[in-house]
Symmetry: D2
Subunit: 386 residues, 4 copies
Amino acid sequence: MTQQASGNGGGRKELGVAMVGHAFMGAVHSQAWRSVARFFDVPVTPKMAVLTGRDADRTAQAADRMGWESASTDWRAVIARDDIDLVDICTPGDTHAEIAIAALEAGKHVLCEKPLANTVDEAQRMVEAAERARERGVYSMVAFNYRRVPALAFARKLVAEGRLGELRHVRAVYLQDWLADADSPMTWRLRKEQAGSGALGDIGAHIIDATQFVTGQRISGVSGLTETFVRQRPSGEGTEDVTVDDCAIFTARFDSGAVGSFEATRYALGRKNAMRMEINGSRGSLSFDFESMNELWFHDGDEDPETGGFRRIVVTEPTHPYLGAWWPPGHVLGYEHTFTHELADLLTALAAGTAPEPSFADGLRVQRVLSAVEHSAENGSKYIQV
Amino acid sequence: MTQQASGNGGGRKELGVAMVGHAFMGAVHSQAWRSVARFFDVPVTPKMAVLTGRDADRTAQAADRMGWESASTDWRAVIARDDIDLVDICTPGDTHAEIAIAALEAGKHVLCEKPLANTVDEAQRMVEAAERARERGVYSMVAFNYRRVPALAFARKLVAEGRLGELRHVRAVYLQDWLADADSPMTWRLRKEQAGSGALGDIGAHIIDATQFVTGQRISGVSGLTETFVRQRPSGEGTEDVTVDDCAIFTARFDSGAVGSFEATRYALGRKNAMRMEINGSRGSLSFDFESMNELWFHDGDEDPETGGFRRIVVTEPTHPYLGAWWPPGHVLGYEHTFTHELADLLTALAAGTAPEPSFADGLRVQRVLSAVEHSAENGSKYIQV
Amino acid sequence: MTQQASGNGGGRKELGVAMVGHAFMGAVHSQAWRSVARFFDVPVTPKMAVLTGRDADRTAQAADRMGWESASTDWRAVIARDDIDLVDICTPGDTHAEIAIAALEAGKHVLCEKPLANTVDEAQRMVEAAERARERGVYSMVAFNYRRVPALAFARKLVAEGRLGELRHVRAVYLQDWLADADSPMTWRLRKEQAGSGALGDIGAHIIDATQFVTGQRISGVSGLTETFVRQRPSGEGTEDVTVDDCAIFTARFDSGAVGSFEATRYALGRKNAMRMEINGSRGSLSFDFESMNELWFHDGDEDPETGGFRRIVVTEPTHPYLGAWWPPGHVLGYEHTFTHELADLLTALAAGTAPEPSFADGLRVQRVLSAVEHSAENGSKYIQV
Amino acid sequence: MTQQASGNGGGRKELGVAMVGHAFMGAVHSQAWRSVARFFDVPVTPKMAVLTGRDADRTAQAADRMGWESASTDWRAVIARDDIDLVDICTPGDTHAEIAIAALEAGKHVLCEKPLANTVDEAQRMVEAAERARERGVYSMVAFNYRRVPALAFARKLVAEGRLGELRHVRAVYLQDWLADADSPMTWRLRKEQAGSGALGDIGAHIIDATQFVTGQRISGVSGLTETFVRQRPSGEGTEDVTVDDCAIFTARFDSGAVGSFEATRYALGRKNAMRMEINGSRGSLSFDFESMNELWFHDGDEDPETGGFRRIVVTEPTHPYLGAWWPPGHVLGYEHTFTHELADLLTALAAGTAPEPSFADGLRVQRVLSAVEHSAENGSKYIQV
């Protein structure tokens, strides 16, 4: 009466995965790799083959804890292995180009954390590698996980269906506060050579991608202003100069004619992860705040004004994006589920032989906006075409 | 350079787990069993040994999908196995007593879904079995998962620290709407012989336990009123009588002198899983709604009235209960995490040889309140001591 | 080119008003009397003839400040005056019956603050006087001002139009906190002989009337529980016994088959004037909180679940009740406007020779519910027919 | 026993007031003039002497309805009258300079609606007239009423007391939607020659003044972007060109080092009067939305992060600005009260012989920001010093 379970989803094809990096992003990705085939009918089952890191002991411990079959400190050796089909890059931005290009050239699919790279040049080279690989059936994806927040995926659907009409306003902010204390110590995220930029690339990149995703439009130009509030931070015995922006605010135009307002900061005391978006169109409006990620606010302009108003949609109905795989209505999801959704989409695309989204080209597009904001900020906020 | 990961947390003791039932609760528990040792430093590693169900094929498929090593249709055989240390009961309430008592007598720890049983008598027998087992070092726990919502665990801490002072008011509602449509078909949850009661036992049980947990007080008496709005539902070709309550509302007294107001319904159109609690004390107040489960609202009465007000605490700080194991502030959790927390507490208690909470006696206490509400409702709402 | 304005609305009939009492309610009523004809096209213009009070100096000062033409300490003399057409009673409840009955017998219309009286007997006598007067074209009204909150008047309209379908749940609370401090001194509101009851009559009366108004249904029975948290309060040199309830909670049935849950307290620390109401029907739901009085939350059950949700209606559209008289959308109203609306309705009814609402009979109905709650609370919460 | 009330506050000095204009602003100002001495202990009592307008009949009717003693169509004659002490200008912006300068030269105090003028030049001339008048004890004030929202006045106090520490972020939007329908007809507000600008001057002026007021800082430079979404509107038989901006968004720097983000639009479908402000400092943060004008959200960064969070302060305590004059806590105020507060401050300043605020110079400062935004928008968003 007892049957041995197959462990791989009943004969589905396996996909050998190697992950590079095991900090915050590595932990989230691991939970997603462990969970995706448990909830989604993905056509391939991921096999968590190997985790790579810089320190042998810590990587081995992380692999054990996170559920990877083995650990390695040599990512080059790993991407050469025949049993590896996909490389998941969870390291800081200054390493993305080298690893991703090598993996693609080795014929491995690549999932790369955002921002795609620290510079437009690097991102451009990655896109070229991705396009070459694609011709050989090797695919790549950049991990803008906020696209997989069900509320935002549903927002995109509403926009695409014309429920908002012609778009006029986009306002997006990404507010955190973990740098608000001027005495908190220096970190690599405040060094330009490692992080590329400050709040702009770290969290501003998310709202640039997410607004383009939801609206289905591209940002065509920007005018930026950046500021560094705390110019030196404690480091070891002394202090070290902060070489990135502490915040970036910019106005923008979308190619549809909508105008936008953006702000990214890690100094908004009391806001923990307030990735917010509001869109106003000629027929409807939307509002979202990641701190309440299971809610989407929708105003339907076709309603009688007497009964019209912003509706709080609890985005947990079975017909909402990704929700059919989870719990009954009102049994809310969390941050980590966005990564599980991302992998479900990735595995589905790979199995179908289609290019997953967002592509490296999408990542490059974000990079160009980031670069334009910086360039504008350095040039008296003048408007720069993207 | 490549090391083989041990897969069991580096030599930690393993705990063989058998789960009975693989519907909604089975799926949530499975995700928790898979995840708990990945995030919490639990002293024992669960081994997901066997899943049992009624239908061989469906159980085997579920086991495969949910990550159980094997499947079985004979729970009696399973609880006799030496490699099974714990039985996790996820079946409907009318089966709890039989399975739990058998498992305890077989020397297995038991985790049992709520409500503990369908009657006070059954619950009483389960408590007796649990107490006998406990003398032999065999433990039991009832799965009131809302105790492990971080916001509610933190609420309990605030109350225990005296931040609310003397408690005066408790008001709790659990509002769902999946029965609001009078034409939706009959289900086992509307049959008294299977479900025990309607909204009262299904979701009312949660707010009874949760308010007693947060306040640290017991409900000492109740006055109830129940109603069945839709008395017949479509079933097969004809209709079938609904034999349980559609909603239950009751007033209550707590042994501390506080008064309470409770309501459970599945007819609150537009409310998906609104498990809400408000507490007012002489020094402070709290407010919570599960639909926004990462938020706790706290009013500190010691504040200057000029700057006083309910604070929206985003319960994602590393010092909040359970949060140290997860993501940075503002990267919110979901429904399923409450079960992972439950298992972390269970495994920690088992390894320490202490009784996990809530115990079967806690479950019986809830059962007695449910019974008193029913009894009062049948007797002109007269006040019944619990 | 300069014309002298007529000061009375261009020949409209004047209505001579006498007001009794000049404390909180007197101040609010005065602002409403001063404002009503400025904003509403009322067919009669109120003439604020005389203010009566107990102390000559304080009454004269109040009359001056509040805009009354004269002051008096003899209400019996005032109601005998030919130039007085209406008496507005703003004194505590223990004086209502005497003044109202005398005024009605003297042929004056009466507007009386709530609760109508301190006992059912008094209220009954007032209703009889009102009915006798009505035969002579003399009208009366009880001042349940919350009926004139635009959001609640609009809520009633939605219910009456069937937008909520068959009503199932009503839950209403009125939460204040001005007694939460156990050391705050004794007041007349805590003496049964003056106040009649505590939170129950003071604020519970409002939610009883308001729910009956919005639903268009009557409460047919109740089961109550009351508590006095602080049994003695500082008074002069010593202490004095509190002889009324500090809070009242009760369950109820409406004659339509809906069930209700009610709570009135002045111990809900942090809640200032949270008069809240939620209604769930088979087609829709409503939610309201007076602390955000310009908002009504409406869930339309006919919506596609995918885009359904509670809508925050900002009740400031010109088509909303009373709003056509005020400002553009979003330019919100306050507490005092409910009294201006009350007078607009009163003056319109009087000019038309129709009975204004709520009538004294409506006030008596509320009194009977209050009495039933008290009786139930004194008798083990047993269910009492109203 | 009956005393004749004096009608002027017991011998207080009277102030003869003339108002110019009787549309929306005239109606609100009138209610404030009627109410101010009823609630505030102002040292002078306003006498509503004369209302002036263009059409004799309509002005007479308005005077009658709004409570003015007489009506006139000749504002020049009115400002020459000896019994007029103050002129209240409620006409469109293109008339402000002429009337205000004439009134000041005639020795009358002036209260002038915002924006102060349609151009910087006009505003400059008004400031010069105001300064000359001031030497003769004749004062002027510009009516930025949002300064008198109690929540914003209290916000200013918190900032001034250092509760927010060093300010870093200011984000302010003013969102309305009454132009969202592209088919709604042309109005004077869309003609540059009458309105000066579109959303920028109409509502953007409010957030410029309000943020400078609350922060106590000045905007030192801006980078702007404006857009006209609907370039032609129905007018009579045909269409007419819209010659103003439909929205304006701009980034800014404050002289304290804070950075700002601003947006004004009348196309934010579903937002009725959402004048919102958020401020983040090194010690605390604030958030406000006029649609919920009685609430101020305050985050105190000195709190333990475990219990920290944005507090919803219901700004109705007797110690809050202006609230002592009104109702008990939780009995909320509305839009019109901001004007009553404005007059209370004006009358108090006049009686004390001190200059009321905001002055014409404050109005000019706002005008210069508006002008800089326009100039920047016309020049590729380049940053312009104010």
